[in-house]
């Protein structure tokens, strides 16, 4: 069976060109970059080259890039690092109610240790209001952390105006840009951020490596203690092949970003419009235009997300859902709930995220399969059953066309 992969926001395949660039760094150039001998120094050179490529992609200076084990570590270092370093100045952090768990759970961790966290609400499209950020700042505020784009619904946040507000107030500003770097233009100076998280495997690089941009003069505390790597901010022997891979991925992204974003936006809108035309009682989640070029997130009424995802998987289509049905986690996606979706619609969500190897024929294939899959599950749904004795009609008017 031919597989159609539409879960690029979860992870991307590593670009074969990236793999090729990494290979020599497992065997030929195996030295420890901290060693002073030739073998070590050629590895160090490779790391510095990669650093320059990542810096160029986001408009930073080379020495402002710190390599980490991935986006999660970058987020942890930004939040906990700043919290620990600035504790004497204040204990208040502002973030949003739709952050990735890497930020959200770090905030919960800090909250338990005496920090005060403001979780700003978003509007129905998932947008943060810059003025809400301004109002939330007080004289104890040490950090603002707001994601560049949301991983579930794809909404791109107004980072630049928030950056101006943060600068005026003299508060550090971090943005989790794991979903945007390499996909839409990111410039740390235009965005006005002091810290910015990057993950390699979201832009066709390898897993297990990422970076944190740290503006000159911004000094988070280190979380990893040991060696003096990365300006003593991140101890641990460098993941040389991974870092080289991230560098190569950044280089390729810089060349392809504009063309690819335009191509994906076309495919994205074809998929969204195609679904809305073919299936009734479906809505788009997230913002219609301030949106990642590759994100489609819909709620399909009367159908639960996991069963939708599972059926599509059997049809060879890989997607994801914001519905979490398990005894350990009865809450559906915190993002969809923050957008104000009723829980049953949050349970009915399906996310398709497109990427470099998504072709127009893949979109047409999904549009061919999805209506049939939805119809099968709707035929089973008690939300579409006849009203029971003494019960009002379900009011959705779908009783007639349950197919």
């Amino acid at each position: 069976m031919e597989r159609v992969y539409l879960d690029y926001a979860a992870t991307t395949p590593t670009d074969p060109e990236v793999v090729q660039a990494m290979v020599p760094y497992f065997t030929e150039v195996f030295g420890n970059p901290s060693s002073i001998h030739h073998c070590g120094q050629e590895a160090k050179e490779a790391i510095e080259e990669a650093r320059a490529k990542v810096a160029r992609l986001i408009g930073a200076q080379d020495e402002e890039i710190i390599f980490t084990s991935g986006g999660t570590e970058a987020d942890n270092l930004a939040l906990t690092g700043v919290a620990v370093a600035r504790e004497s100045k204040g204990n208040h952090i502002i973030t949003t109610s739709i952050e990735h768990h890497a930020v959200m759970e770090t905030c919960h961790f800090l909250e338990k240790r005496g920090f005060q966290i403001t979780y700003l609400p978003v509007d129905e499209y998932g947008l943060i209001g810059p003025e809400d950020v301004r109002k939330a700042i007080n004289n104890r505020t040490i950090l603002i952390s707001i994601m560049h784009a949301n991983n579930e619904v794809g909404t791109v946040e107004p980072i630049s105006p928030i950056g101006e507000i943060a600068r005026e107030a003299g508060v550090y500003f971090h943005s989790d840009a794991v979903q945007t770097v390499g996909h839409i233009p990111v410039d740390v100076n235009k965005l006005g951020v002091d810290l910015l998280s990057v993950s390699a495997h979201k832009l066709y690089g390898p897993k297990g490596v990422g970076a944190l941009y740290i503006r000159k003069g911004t000094k988070p505390a280190s979380l990893m203690h040991g060696g003096e790597q990365e300006r003593q901010l991140r101890a641990g022997t460098h993941n040389v092949p991974g870092i080289v891979g991230l560098g190569k991925a950044a280089e390729i992204a810089q060349q392809e970003i504009n063309e690819e974003a335009a191509r994906l936006t076309g495919l994205r809108d074809r998929l969204i419009n195609g679904i809305l035309e073919r299936i009734d009682h479906v809505r788009l989640n997230g913002h219609p235009s301030s949106r990642l070029p590759n994100n489609v997130n819909i709620s399909v009424d009367f159908v639960e997300g996991e069963s939708l995802c599972l059926t599509l998987d059997l049809e060879g289509i890989c997607t994801s859902t914001g519905s979490a049905c398990s005894s350990s986690n009865l809450e559906p996606s915190h993002v969809l709930m923050a957008l104000g979706l009723p829980p049953e619609q949050a349970r009915s969500s399906l996310r398709c995220t497109l990427g470099k190897w998504t072709a127009e024929s893949d979109i047409e294939h999904v549009l061919g399969v999805l209506p049939r899959v939805v119809a099968r599950l709707r035929a089973m749904s008690p939300l579409l059953r006849k009203p029971l004795a003494g019960e009002e009609s379900n009011g959705h008017g779908l009783e007639k066309n349950k197919s």
Partner: protein, 131 residues
């Protein structure tokens, strides 16, 4: 490794006894779409046996497979036998459920039980009228 057993996937993709029964003898509903799963069971009773069982389910793969399995296990059984279908038995028949999905088997067994209780209650009422 796939998250569900082959048996679960079979019942999920080819659920037995999906649908509604016209003028059922009992109806039982458990769960709600807010918490993620909702099941409606319909039963037809003849000579104290479940002559027909049908269901409709909104829920994850496990919830749909559980409903299908419960309906299959219950069909043809006496009411007393059917009431002895426990969540554990259902999960075992499905060759196991992921730990975090075990609550789905509770819902299935409870929905069937409610349908039987609904039937028994109606019987009592009708019996009361006749005497």
């Amino acid at each position: 490794m796939p998250i569900y057993s082959e048996k679960v996937m079979d019942h999920f993709m080819n659920p037995r006894n999906v649908g509604e029964i016209e003028n059922p003898d009992g109806i039982g509903e458990e769960g709600n779409p807010v918490c993620g799963d909702m099941m409606t069971f319909y039963i037809k009773v003849k000579d104290n046996r479940l002559e027909d069982v049908k269901f409709k389910t909104f829920g994850c793969g496990a919830a749909i497979a559980v409903s299908s399995m419960v309906s299959e296990m219950a069909k043809g059984k006496t009411l007393e036998e059917a009431k002895k279908i426990t969540p554990r038995l259902v999960a075992d028949e499905l060759e196991g459920l992921p730990k975090n999905k075990f609550h789905c088997s509770n819902l299935g067994a409870q929905a069937l039980n409610k349908a039987i209780d609904d039937y028994l209650k109606k019987q009592q009422k009708e019996g009361g009228k006749q005497s």
